[in-house]
């Protein structure tokens, strides 16, 4: 009986958890609640993935109202994959959260922090699971508002400004999204995505539908930080609390990418997006600009958290490159990079959070020689960095391999060259930090550093091993991404 209600529970559990956390005054109790919720969610998501893998698409009528009239939660292999990604990351980082949050958030705000965190998780899972355009907007607002609050809780005073900047940009994005949905609603009379896709047949080239597509693309691209709409991201990631940065970098932009793919492939369909419109070329140019521009900026950052944030913009470029390549292999490469980048970036930000926990700084001059005192954490940074570069044997290689194959299938040899070239820039910004960490004389603060507590170290190591593991065993990543890409390209849903 309970397996039939998994789609609802996936979203309701974090919502209930957030309520309980808000009632509790003590940060450690709120953490326990958040931990319990975070550990159940991956089980639900894996259950859903299993159900869709075995039995195909699941449809859940919220409130008992038959779709397309009521809100439908619709799970196919692609969003089950995204749900697994978000909830697994949520579960792995929760043990890590306790010490980091105790260190960075004032005691009286810790319970609120977990409440807001769970709301953010609820919103992201909701976007991924819902099959209703407006419901997705509501969840987008839930997760975005929670994100602004999470970022503003950073200790640095600039966190407030970063949160405000993101608030403005994020609100513009959400407004564009809802304008797009409104236009589609006026043309089709439905908010259910699957129903919308059917009713769009025949009116794809009307002005209103094209305007809707433009609004949706720009709105969601703001959320996923597609170059040049990424300007909110570096400051937001740099000044948010470590825990919030880890979570957001691994999940928030990924869910936005999911939503964009959902609209492109399941609602508008391949023929509209690629045959009639130059979407492929727009994304190609912007992705390449992100891969090179953001990577180059990353090389010159003194604040390493900010450097990783710019690297995120570049890596999102690889994900959207999958949309531009538009054949099954390339798209699978983009989707698998969703997953791989999430685990690599989470591991890197966790290592950085551990360093901040010990020395209270993430500036490059303070990191000098820290490997002598924190060899494991510095080692995590090396492995994660190799993943970002895409060295064989790491998860990052798998993504770039698929992207490269996709480019060759299209006959775009020059794109393969560009992927390799941009990876070379990643060598620069990763290598620069690794060199400072391992081969310099320890800075005054680094001399006093030591490894973080096990509760922080073990989750970090787990994600680091995952970075290597998914470089060899690709059943859960590449195989699932392959199925998802197949589903999208055949207009699934």
């Amino acid at each position: 009986m309970i397996s039939a209600h998994l789609p609802a529970l996936q979203v309701v559990l974090p919502l209930l958890g957030a309520v309980v956390c808000a009632f509790l005054k003590r940060g450690s109790w709120a953490w326990l609640v958040a931990l319990a919720v975070s550990l159940v969610l991956p089980a639900i998501a894996l259950g859903l993935l299993y159900q869709t893998y075995e039995g195909g698409t699941i449809s859940y009528a919220l409130g008992g109202w038959r779709p397309p009239f009521g809100i439908e939660y619709r799970v196919d292999i692609f969003n089950a994959f995204v749900l697994v990604l978000v909830s697994v990351i949520g579960a792995v980082i929760m043990p890590y959260a306790k010490r980091s949050v105790e260190h960075e958030i004032p005691e009286d705000k810790q319970a609120w922090f977990y409440a807001i965190y769970l709301l953010c998780l609820c919103g992201l899972l909701g976007i991924a699971i819902t099959g209703d355009a407006f419901n997705a907007f509501v969840f987008m607002e839930i997760s975005s508002l929670a994100t602004y609050a999470l970022i503003a809780m950073g200790r640095d005073r600039r966190a407030l400004l970063a949160a405000y900047q993101y608030l403005i940009m994020g609100t513009i994005g959400a407004t564009f999204y809802v304008i797009g949905v409104g236009l589609l609603y006026s043309m089709t009379g439905t908010l259910n995505l699957a129903d919308m896709a059917n009713r769009l047949a025949g009116i794809e080239d009307s002005r209103a539908v094209l305007a809707a597509l433009a609004f949706l693309t720009v709105g969601i691209s703001l959320k996923l930080a597609l170059f040049p709409l990424h300007v909110w991201l570096p400051n937001a990631y740099a000044y948010a609390p470590s825990m919030a940065t880890v979570f957001l970098s691994a999940t928030a932009t990924k869910v936005a990418v999911y939503l964009l793919l959902r609209y492109f492939f399941s609602v508008f369909g391949v023929s509209v997006i690629y045959a009639d419109l130059p979407v492929s070329w727009i994304f190609l140019v912007l992705s390449i600009a992100a891969m090179f521009g953001a990577s180059l900026v990353a090389v010159f950052q003194a604040n390493i958290k900010r450097m990783l944030a710019y690297s995120s913009v570049a890596q999102i470029g690889y994900i959207t490159l999958g949309i531009a390549i538009a054949n099954k292999t390339g798209l699978a490469g983009g989707i698998v990079h969703l997953f791989n980048h999430a685990i690599m970036k989470a591991a890197l930000f966790m290592a950085l959070g551990s360093i901040f926990f010990r020395i209270g700084s993430v500036r490059i001059e303070d990191l000098a020689g820290i490997a002598k005192r924190m060899p494991v954490t510095a080692g995590v940074f090396v492995v994660g960095g190799l993943g970002l570069i895409g060295v064989p044997g790491t998860a990052g290689f798998i993504s770039k391999w698929y992207l490269g194959l996709g480019a060759i299938e299209n006959g775009w040899w020059w794109l393969l060259m560009l992927i390799v070239l941009s990876s070379a820039i990643a060598v620069l910004y990763v290598g620069r930090v690794v060199e400072v960490m391992w081969f310099r004389e320890p800075s005054p603060v680094a001399k006093k550093a030591e490894e973080p507590p096990l509760s922080m170290l073990l989750p970090t190591l787990l994600l680091t091993f995952a970075t290597i593991y998914f470089g060899f065993d690709t059943f859960l990543t590449a195989h699932m991404a392959d199925l998802a890409a197949q589903l999208l390209l055949t207009g699934g849903r």
Partner: protein, 139 residues
């Protein structure tokens, strides 16, 4: 303002009617215009009105900040909890049909319960925002 008799008497006359109006809007939500959000705004306006006339301290004696802070999650809890009851009764999340004798009454009761949750959260949130703006720089 505290010394102004006209304001104080007028406020004392108005406030009970504001409360009744809030409840009127609340319980007509499932049939006509109105509902938890609008009622919550009217109820919060009542607290704001009282605070303007009689001062923040006396308003906070009647509606303490601690209670306001609990009202915000409490309403969400009511909303989410109603859905969980549907699940426990063997229906889909937020399906109100099993709440009453027949599904029509069930839906009606369900809407009323959820709207109460909305009322609690909206009132709490608006009063909390008002308190934090007015209380700024006082401590």
């Amino acid at each position: 303002m505290k010394l102004d008799v006209v304001f104080r008497i007028a406020a004392k006359i108005f406030i009970p009617f504001m409360l009744v109006f809030a409840l009127y809007v609340q319980f007509h939500g499932e049939l006509g215009p109105g509902g938890g959000f609008q009622a919550g705004v009217v109820a919060a306006a009542m607290v704001v009105f009282y605070a303007i006339i009689f001062g923040l301290e006396s308003a906070q004696k009647i509606v303490p900040p601690r209670v306001v802070e609990l009202m915000v999650p409490a309403g969400v809890g009511i909303f989410a909890g109603v859905g969980v009851v549907s699940l426990l009764l063997g229906e889909n999340y937020l399906n109100y049909s099993p709440f009453g004798g027949d599904s029509q009454h069930g839906q009606e009761y369900g809407i009323i319960l959820v709207e109460i949750g909305v009322l609690v959260t909206v009132t709490g949130t608006l009063v909390a925002i008002f308190y934090s703006f007015v209380g700024r720089g006082r401590e």
